[in-house]
Amino acid sequence: MLILGIETSCDETAASLIEVDDKKIKIINNLVLSQIDIHKKYGGIVPEVAARKHVEAIIPVIAGSIGNTKPDLISVTQGPGLITSLQVGLQTAKTLSYARHIPLIGINHLEAHLWSFKLTNYVKIKLPALGLIVSGGHTELLLIKKNSKYELIGRTRDDAVGEAFDKVAKLLNLGYPGGPKISKQALKGKPDKIELPKPMIDSPDLDFSFSGLKTAVKYLIKEQPKTNINDLCASFEKAITDVLITKTLKAAIKYKTKSIIIGGGVSANNRLREEFKTKTSKSKYDFYYPALEHTGDNAAMVAYTGYLNKKTASLKMYTKLTALPNMKLV
C-alpha cells in the first residue's frame, strides 16, 4: 500500500511517501522543511510566521514527495498542535483527496511519534507496552493494551520536557532549540556536581512536573552567578532523565508491561536513550526507540500511523476532517 503522509502540526512542513504492508515497510522519501532557522531569532515558534511558511512550503514539499504517483491513501496530522499550522496541512490533504479521489485519514500526532521506531525497526512488539512521548509540547506516558487500545496513565502537570529544555536554555542564553544546546554543554560537565530537584520522582502517581526544576535553575544562577554552565546543564539533563526513567519503570511494574517505547523530539537525547537501554536490559524489558532522523516531527511516521488506522479512512473524509488542537489519544 502506497501512503502519502502530511505533517504540519508545529514548525515543520513535511510530506513522505511510504510503501507498507504487514511484513515490510519502505520509506520512498521523507521530506522535512524545517522552520527552526526562521524561528531561532524569536527564541521559539511564532504561529503566524509558522502558518505563512507552511502555506509557502506545503505544495512544493508534497509535489516533491509524490511526483506523478497516485498514493492509495493520504494520512494527515489532525492534532494536537498549533491550529493555524494544522489547518494548512489538513486543507491541502482534503483538497488533494477530493481532486484525485484518494481515501483520506486524519491521525493523532502523538500516536505517530509512538510508532516512529517502526520506520527502521519493523518488528512486532510484545503487549502490553508503555509509550513515553517526550517533545516540546508533550510529556505523556501511554499504556498500549493487548487490544491495541491506548490509555493515558501519566502526563506533565505543568511544562513539557522539551519546553523545560527550551526555557532553561533561554535562562542560560544558550539559544533555540534548547535540547541540543543543553546536551552539548552537558557533555563537558559533571552531572553530579549540582544538586537539582527531581520533581515528583517519588510521588505515587505517574505524572510529571518540570516547572519547579526550571525555577530552581533560575534561582541558582541568580544566587550563584559563577556556577559552571556545563555542570549545570549536565545536572539538569540528569535530573530530567532520572525522573523520566524512574517513572516509566515504575509504570512498567505496575502494569506488567513487556515493552517500553520512546518517541518525540526529546527521545533524540543521548543520555535518555543510553540510560533507558541500560535500565531496560537489566529489567528484561524490550526497548524500542526511533532512529535519530525520525525523533523530530516528520511525515513518514504520519503515513505509517495512517496505515495502522486504515480501516477508518474514506473517500468522503474530506467533508468532515477538522483540526483538533487539543486532540486526545484514545
Binding site: 504561529p47 503566524e48 494536537p80 511544562d159 535562562l171 526550571k214 525555577t215 534561582y219
Partner: protein, 120 residues
Amino acid sequence: MISNNPEETIEYAKEYFNISKSKILGLVGNLGTGKTVFTQGIAQALGINEIVNSPTFVLMKIYKTKHQIFKQLVHVDAYRLTSAQELIDIGLEEYFNRPDTLIVIEWADKVKKNYHQKLS
C-alpha cells in the same frame, strides 16, 4: 501580597477569583514566577478537575468548567507571541466578550501592542 510557594499562589488565585469581576486576566512575570500555578488556582476555583498544564506549545487550551457563570476557561500563553494580531491568528477572538468564558493570558505583556484596537 507575596506568595512564597506554589500552594500559597493557588490559594491567592482562588481568593482573587472570588472577588474579581474580570472576564479577562493578563498575567505578567518572568519565567518561574508562578503564572501557570496561578491559572491552576483559578481552574480549581472553577471546578476543573483536569490537569491544567502549560499551553506554551499549543498557545491556547480550553477547559470545560463546573462553574455557574463561566462555562469554559481559555488558557492562553503569549510567551511566543509578539502582538495582539497573533491572538486573533490563533483564534482567540471567538472567545472574547462572551459572558460564559473566562480568559487567562500568561505573558500578557508580550501582546500589549495594538491590544485595544484589535480586541476590545
